[in-house]
Amino acid sequence: MTNRTLSLDVDPVWESIDRVRRENEVFLRTHQIPQPSIEALSMVTCELMENAVKYGFFEGDVKTIQSRCSVESDSVVLEVRSPVKPGDDAAMARLDHMIQWIRGYQDPFQAYLMRLREVSSQAMGTSESGLGLVRIAYEGQSVLDFFVDSGSVLNISALHAVEGAR
């Protein structure tokens, strides 16, 4: 049986994003994941990795980003782990709130519309708006979730159902 999980440990530099994206793509292809899902998951990989590189706190014990891509019977789970600044509870609480809010809608398009109103209302950056997370749900057709472990490492995951399965 082929390995159903691909784990990578990469440096928190911009170039790592594309490396993880490529390796995930190859891995998903060997597991016969349909092309539309591979495209969606590539986008999700990039968005999650970008956030990890941008907002990760690499001055503590953990100096790398870990990525896992697991193929399950009816879904694919992407996980990205990156350290957060210890004690930055407010940022984690905002992430929690944001993810629950996005996931509250049966149709992520609705969350997308709401975010778009704010982004379009002025020249604001997309990262502040959470548009990237909404895009994971809407375009990436994935369910976001996260937890922070005792080493202050943020584990953010996206669950993508492979079409056909509900």
Binding site: Q100, D107, F109, L113, S150, E163
Partner: protein
């Protein structure tokens, strides 16, 4: 709801009146008005429109157009006023709290985008929806007629008549609703996830007027606290009564809380009391109270049920954890009342935390204590496997040797699933027995049992930790 931080620097701006500028500082905001203080100590005008105003969010001032200035009467400070943008109404609370300039009518820019969406709806689904909306309108009008005819009746008489109508025509309507739901289930059975999403969206737009008549459906759709399943919804589920001003609204409220899933929520409340009593009988250390931890406790009705006699207060010691301040407050209030009624204060601790971040703490035992019985209902249906696994592992660490942990999760066979997704906009992560038990794969020494309650929609993972 944004992940950007609320800025600490004060928000400032200027009002422009007859060509002169009057600086102000923003002190607060309502939805459509800014609460300000003019920094030079007086109002430029009162109860009048000014030609323009600007606010400075980060760098450049942003014009917000014509505004009305209304002095604050009744407060000592004469320089305080409300500024109401009238040329372009704005979401002033977001302007103040999040430094976002969002027009109140921004959504109207999306009309074309929204209208375009109907092109992707299957014709048979459109037909189904249109027919349903029509048939619901017929019922609504008939029930409204009865409401109107009772308008001048004595309240007691009207109540009797309504009872009778609900019992006959009301029940018939609820059965009609059941049939239509069954058709909906058949129709969407083969849909892909994306199709469910699109069709659900289209469906709710069409039945929105009906949704709003129902206190329960309105709340599940609007989610005023940002998540589904808040303590008010739980209360409505537990009450299971006719709520609302109109007969039609009462029926639209009652229907979704008579479903299998709703009954399962009521069943699990009873089940918990039995489980806790059983845990008490088997408690590892009979010399002390049984320590219970409820994770995502919500309003914790089952805890109130647990205390019926004064002696009970000494039998249990509870720790209740939830992310929602309001739900915790409610739990605390009612549990306190129970203690007062029994004249024996209940030992309870209330912790506000999210399970997603509580794992961050290095020494969770020091923070949350060890417990004999841990349970969590209505939480795991929201956690994906990686998160659920790690939460379960950490909770197991909080379990005393010989302790027991019971976790609820809706089963994939939940017969109310389509109803919840299409009508309530309420999506859960459903599990099979296998995936559920797999979450606990790595718990050292644990033994498992999995069972469901009577309606078979709610499943429980019952975990035991070996004694010493």
């Amino acid at each position: 709801m944004s992940i950007s931080e609320v800025p600490k620097a004060p928000l400032r701006g200027e009002v422009i009146h007859e060509g002169r500028r009057h600086p102000f500082e923003v002190l607060g905001a309502r939805r459509s008005a800014l609460e300000v203080r003019f920094t030079n100590g007086t109002l430029p005008v009162d109860r009048m429109e000014v030609e323009g105003a600007e606010v400075t969010l980060i760098a450049d001032p942003i014009a917000i157009g014509r505004c009305r200035v209304e002095g604050h009467r009744g407060v000592g400070d004469v320089a305080m006023a409300h500024i109401i943008p009238t040329e372009t109404p704005l979401r002033c609370d977001d302007l103040y709290k999040r430094r976002l300039v969002v027009r109140l009518d921004q959504g109207f820019d999306q009309t074309a985008l929204l209208q375009r969406r109907k092109a992707e709806i299957r014709p048979e689904f459109r037909a189904y929806t249109a027919d349903l909306v029509y048939d619901l309108a017929i019922y609504r009008q008939l029930f409204d007629e009865i409401d109107a005819s009772l308008a001048n009746e004595k309240p007691e008489t009207a109540a009797l008549v309504r009872d009778s109508v609900r019992a006959k025509q009301g029940r018939a309507f609820l059965r009609f609703f059941d049939e239509r739901l069954a058709q909906l289930e058949t129709m969407v059975a083969g849909f892909t996830r994306a199709e469910h999403e699109r069709h659900g969206f289209y469906f709710r737009r069409n039945v929105w007027g009906n949704i709003l008549t129902s206190a329960f459906l309105a709340r599940t759709n609007i989610r005023p606290r940002g998540y589904a399943g808040d303590s008010m919804m739980m209360q409505q589920l537990y009450d299971n009564s006719y709520q609302g001003d109109s007969l039609f609204g009462q029926l639209m409220h009652k229907h979704p809380i008579e479903t299998a899933a709703a009954q399962a929520v009521r069943n699990r409340r009873k089940l918990l009391v039995d489980l806790i009593e059983a845990a008490y009988r088997d408690r590892p250390d009979p010399s002390r109270a049984l320590r219970i931890l409820s994770v995502a406790c919500g309003p914790a009705w089952e805890v109130r049920d647990l205390f019926t006699r004064a002696e009970d207060a000494a039998r249990f010691s509870c720790t209740l954890l939830d992310q929602d301040e309001e739900a915790l407050g409610e739990a605390e209030h009612h549990i306190h009342l129970v203690g007062t009624r029994l004249e024996a204060p209940v030992q309870a601790k209330y912790l506000r935390d999210s399970v997603r971040t509580m794992l961050m703490s290095k020494d969770i035992v020091a923070q949350f204590g060890k417990h004999d019985f841990i349970y969590s209902m209505g939480l795991f249906d929201y956690l994906t496997a990686p998160v659920a696994r790690s939460v379960l592992t950490r909770l197991y660490e909080l379990l005393e040797p010989g302790g027991r942990m019971v976790i609820g999760n809706f089963h994939v066979e939940n017969p109310t699933r389509t109803y919840m997704e299409y009508w309530m906009d309420w999506v859960l992560l459903y599990r099979h027995e296998d995936d559920f038990q797999a979450l606990g794969r790595e718990l050292p020494g644990a033994t498992f049992e999995i069972y469901r309650e009577e309606t078979r929609s709610q499943m429980f993972l019952d975990v035991r930790k070996p004694r010493g």
